[in-house]
């Protein structure tokens, strides 16, 4: 079942970003042609081409995550550019919606280093 929430996305922003990144990589490796990348993410080259040109909405979450892995980008960043939130994050928010809504609003204008302080780190002990 398709669970991704569609929010507003800047038209072409996702496609532009993917195309620019793919073309950068293609200067180093011909495997990053439209056909090559499409084959690896299991879509038709014509479909990928339309996505890159913004002629069709961004693909599914699973396909976006495959694109992210291939072009070496963060999956959450690409999902955000596509105006989506991952199924995993939705599940997290749905468990405690009020708490997370409040937390996100509180943090929205905080600098990165302040937000990073909330990230759970692996604890080091005595050894």
């Amino acid at each position: 079942m398709y669970h991704v929430v569609h929010t507003t996305y800047m038209k072409d922003e996702f496609g532009d970003y993917v195309r620019q990144r793919r073309e950068q990589l293609r200067t180093q490796d011909p495997a990053f042609s439209v056909r090559g990348l499409a084959g690896r993410i299991r879509v038709e080259p014509s479909y990928l081409s339309k996505v890159e040109r913004g002629e069709t909405p961004p693909p599914s979450e699973a396909t976006i995550l495959r694109i992210a892995r291939e072009i070496g980008e963060d999956g959450d960043v690409l999902l955000a550019l596509a105006g989506k939130v991952s199924t995993e994050l939705q599940a997290v928010i749905r468990k405690r919606p009020t708490l997370f809504a409040e937390l996100i609003r509180e943090l929205k204008d905080q600098p990165d280093h302040a937000v990073l302080r909330l990230v759970r780190e692996v604890r080091d002990g005595e050894w």
Binding site: T27, E121, V122, D124, G125, W127
Partner: protein
Amino acid sequence: MIELKQDALLFSFPEMHQKARLGIEFQRTLRIPDDDRDYPLPPGLGRFPLRHVDDFGREVPELWLQHGGVMLPMYQSEALWLNFESSRGGYPFAIKIAAGKTNAITGESWKEKLDRRPQDYVVAPEQPWLDGYCVERGVIRQFVAMPLGSGYSAEEQITGEAEHGGLQILVYPMKAEAFERYFRRRERALGDACRYASESVQGAALDMGLAPGGRMRQEIYDDPYKPADWDLEHGSRCFVHIANSLVWRGITGQPPPTVPATAREYTDAGLPWFEYYGDDAEVVGGSKVLAQLKSVLKLGEARKDTPLPENDSVEPGKIIALRKGLAKNQVREGCF
């Protein structure tokens, strides 16, 4: 800082450089035969599950909580390799790896500073992975799991004691100014098969140590940078505890991964092995201390023990060559 993300450790140093991010994952693999032949690289069979030890405070030993860090489950019939993934910009890191606080490159006891002669660390991304103890130039003995206290681990063979177990990892990033100096030009160019466990859980020892298994062809590359390029003020370290897979469910409530295929099953299925070529990169010599270690098979024979019920020699038929600067699709992944 170190985060646990999707069963991998993510070391990042955002205060130094945005690109200073290194992922270390622990790949499951089959145990190569311990028969004194040199084998190519076995496949990666997926990541070991990784969990914070703090989340299972009531179930794990007090010592694990004292060490902090993470834990993973391992069967005695499997092996482990470390995969180093730095960001696409190729930010360099010096990485010290020890098992039971015995350095995997030199066999020396744990210390936090970096030694160049002999080199007691690996450098990522030059070193894409590490599969075991460096016993000779170009040869390692595979990291295999044995119950801590059984006398097989490198730690026990060297120190005579089963005190630490697990894996210890310490990561130093390159200084930001050195990174900019080395990589500015490049940056501009780039722009910005399975069987279910049937063994009995009863009586299984919890804590596992890493012991030297079969021999494998793997080079440890010389540090191509200067000692002053490493930022020794900003190291991050992590203790990775190894739990016997047979008690993993008892600790976490989650099933452990399935038992991996044996080397014979994998090879008979026509699945690939791998060779990595680092081109003209300098290679460090092996450790005399580690070369003296007895493999699990040899030590078992000396003790009239049978620690490896399945240890058939195999003839890897299909070998895939991987070269330095792995391109897309040059992955070391197998499936069974």
